[in-house]
């Protein structure tokens, strides 16, 4: 399964809640304000570090660039929209709004 997450972890609990439902080999894709979760050394970085133990984590490059985010947690992969669609080809998806 592909889990998409579009909320900042500093203001919403969506990411924290989503982690309870991620199974091994599921994929997490951060988009829109969700990409803030991928930044290194924050009070919420442990959430993505936890997700990385279960499977792949992607962050949308366009959303990172828009927000000036470059210092990411090790292991987070960058995705463009073509990669997003490739993941959608492989998985059903659930949007954690």
């Amino acid at each position: 399964m592909l889990h998409t997450l579009n909320k900042s972890p500093f203001s919403h609990t969506s990411l924290e809640n989503c982690l309870r439902f991620i199974k091994p080999d599921d994929v997490l894709l951060l988009l829109e304000d969700g990409v803030y979760a991928a930044t290194r050394g924050t009070s919420r970085s442990h959430l993505i570090e936890q997700a990385l133990q279960n499977g792949h984590v992607f962050a949308m490059q366009a959303d990172l660039k828009a927000r000036g985010l470059t210092d990411l947690i090790d292991g987070v992969q960058l995705a463009d929209y073509d990669k997003f669609v490739e993941l959608l080809e492989q998985h059903s998806s659930h949007a954690w709004r």
Partner: protein
């Protein structure tokens, strides 16, 4: 029904502060009527939508409480609630509204409470998932 496409609707927002739950229920009824194998899962603040004793009259909002009791009548029979979400909100099974009556026993039926791992497993079976 075994060949019917499996569709899940998740509800994670609380009721009344926004229209999401009300409009989600409208989708549930239509999807169920099209012969899709529908599961509905209430997670996080979504569990609050199923709380007994809700009354929107003083707000002047129509609300959707009557629809909850008609779930099973409208073929919305696979209704699940996340256990952790209930506990976080100090809710128990007794706080959940009835969604209809069992066909055989005619006893009132509540949604089924599931652990997150069971919900995750159910999600993995779905063809399409709609987060409303």
């Amino acid at each position: 029904m075994s060949d019917a496409k499996k569709v899940m609707i998740t509800v994670r927002k609380p009721p009344h502060g926004s229209i999401y739950v009300h409009e989600a229920i409208e989708v549930m009824f239509i999807v169920a009527s099209f012969g899709l194998d529908l599961s509905v899962v209430f997670i996080d603040d979504g569990v609050l939508a199923l709380k007994t004793g809700q009354d929107t009259k003083e707000l002047g909002i129509k609300g959707f409480m009557a629809s909850i009791g008609a779930f099973m009548d409208f073929e919305v029979t696979k209704v699940y609630v996340d256990r952790q979400s209930l506990e976080d909100r100090n809710m128990s099974e007794a706080d959940l509204a009835f969604i209809g009556e069992d066909e055989t026993t005619e006893q009132p039926v509540r949604p089924t409470i599931l652990d997150s791992s069971a919900i995750a497993a159910l999600m993995a079976e779905q063809q399409s998932l709609m987060a409303l």
